[in-house]
Amino acid sequence: MTPPDLAVAEKIEGPSGETEELISGSEAIAHACRLADVDVITAYPIRPYDTVMQYVSQMISNGDFDCEFIVAESEHSQFEIVKHASVVGARVFCGSSGVGWFYAFEALAVTAGLRVPMVAMVGNRALDDPGAFGVEHNDALAVRDLGWMLNWVSTAQEALDTALIAYRVAEDKRVSLPCAISCDGAFLTHSQTLVKVPSQETVDSFLPPYDRAEKQLHPDNPITIAPQVNEDWLMEMRRQNDMAMRRARGVIIEVYEDFNAKFGRGGEPFIERYMMDDAEIALVGMGTLAMPVRVAVRKMREQGKKVGFVRVRWFRPFPTIELQDAFATVHAVGVIDRDYSFGSAFHSGVLATEVRSALYPMESPPKVISFIAGLGGREVSADNVIEMADMAFDAAAGGDINEQDTHWIGVRE
């Protein structure tokens, strides 16, 4: 099987007015905010997310972008401000990293419950202490049960594109849920690559203005949002939230179709399949892990080893159907978590736990081997990936790999 070209090397003729810029993932997100004509942005510095606020303020001072830019006194206020701005009709953007995201947690929880279609960027960062700022995915994953849509991107291009997609999905009346875009700290937030920046016209043809209609908090539309309720009401509200997340799945498919048509790129909505057609075993991961994994997959393919890779792009809603389909014929799946879930079943990471759960109802599910790698921003090398793939091959062949345990890769003994 011939490997496809890498995304950055592709020469697809984009829509007119598109420019090519050498920018980081954070700057790509800032461009998306400009192109989405976001009304209110709040900021509070924490590495690596703070690079976004630097680029946004630069754009504002250069006269390229007009929005309310509020530097709050904490992450909690940062998220509270945009939450309220959103209900009065402003398109909003916010973001944070690591423990900063956690400091906003109370606001994050109610943002989803309130059905506020906020788009946030999480510059993935380890949770201190000690004062670590390399990438781990536990920060964004912490809101996985609360009604936030979550996705992970692997290139600056995908960051820009996904931010535009996120606004369209989040603000869709069938959904009305917040969406967080995760960008791996350093590898995406602090590395500049060539990115196609679309024209305002193309974006305008894709993204309609934010309109809350009859749910806009305004003196002419007297409503109360989120009154105090008791046990007679909350369960119905949670069920509505559940339905919104279920509907999001269909809306995401619809929006990717339109994005592909208008921008000439975008790919499959929920997952990226890399050399999966005849794969006997597959690796799964999220974010920039994709780079070393694809390198390793190509190396192993050269040796005739039928390995493929599935990159999970949307974690919420979780791509259950897509994963069942992608793994229908593979014998073993190696899940690489750049996160941890201490004390969980098999001591796995979060992704492995979800993947196992998604594959369980399959008639003959593949074996699932879980790995933890790249914590605290540690590089995951192609050799690390080959080590994991070999273990998955071994499991597929009925070897003595312990499926009921999790294997830490690249950790010093």
């Binding site: 059905r115 409503i223 109360t224 989120a226 008791n230 369960m235 509200m237």
Partner: protein, 381 residues
Amino acid sequence: MSTGSVEVVYRGIFQKTLAKNICRGIVLAARKDGKIGIAFGRYGDSPERNGIPAKQFAVVSDNEEELEEHLAKYEPDNNDVTIVLDDALCKGVESWAWYGLQPINKLLADGGTLVVTSTQSANKLIKTVHRKGAPYNLAIVKSPASFSGLWVYKDDHTDVRLLGALAKVAPQIVSLESMVEAIAEQWKDDLKVASAKKAYEAVESTPVGADQGNDAKPFSFDLPGWTKMEEGLVIRGMDAKPQDVPGRDGGYVPTRSETFKKFSTRTMRPVINFDTCTKCTLCWLNCPDTCFDITPDGFYDANMEACCGCGVCEAVCPVNECVTMVNEEAFEDHDSQWEMWAKDKEGYSTWLSEKITHLPARSHGFHHVGQYAEEIADDPS
């Protein structure tokens, strides 16, 4: 019967400790009879709010298995006894979620006993209570409502008097011997034991027929399902246009919620002397519940569906003997005072003079220096 439960309906803040003492007293006394039990407040209540109707419960049982059927619940719905700590609550209570007025005997089992502290007669009280549709008993412990101050418990023996009365009307829950033993152990006070025994002897129970009582239909509605509720936690505001009141041309009656009334929080209500009113607007401006309707001739008429009896209007009124707070027990309806006055000014004047003889129990906190000392001195118990 091996499991029994008691509901205590009280007024927030002023009777919170009283209700707690009663429910704890029941469980501790039943323990002496070899039973086990639980005492708890209704979780959703806001008993720190002035005068708000709130509830506490005591459930006792012979064994853990039966008690377990009553655990992890917000309220027992078939109580042997409902104790009412203010007779004004006999008119009904709005539950904490404000689903409209509900009968005071709603959670009382058929054949159970409603125990009320009151100085009114049984016949008068029965008229105010909603018809149950099944026979039950009304027992009166002769006493005005016992209201504590905000910070200090008023230890006027109402707690032990009710415990003594309970042993009389519901011996299946707790015996007098055990009750006396428990009170002696809890309070280490012979006077309290004596009060309990005295109440046991004095309490009188009257049978109430299925069809006796107030025939007003309690408010009810169906809770909507998730497919019917508006998404995004949005509640529509009411149309702000003034209400049309038949027979009133002019004036202003604001739109008010059909269900969010709060008047069962009231223990006293303002009566207004329209002959002395100067139309200064202060009551209307200061009312925290916007309860004053503006009449066609420019008076301010306190709407009894909206008034929670706080007494602010009386406090801000600059005219002597214009707004007077009167004990809620003196009233049987929510009718407009202004309409009564407009129809028959002389008759209204007589009505007014009669009403203001019913001094309020002043449950709503501080009124004047020395008030607490006076209340203790006046207390007939």
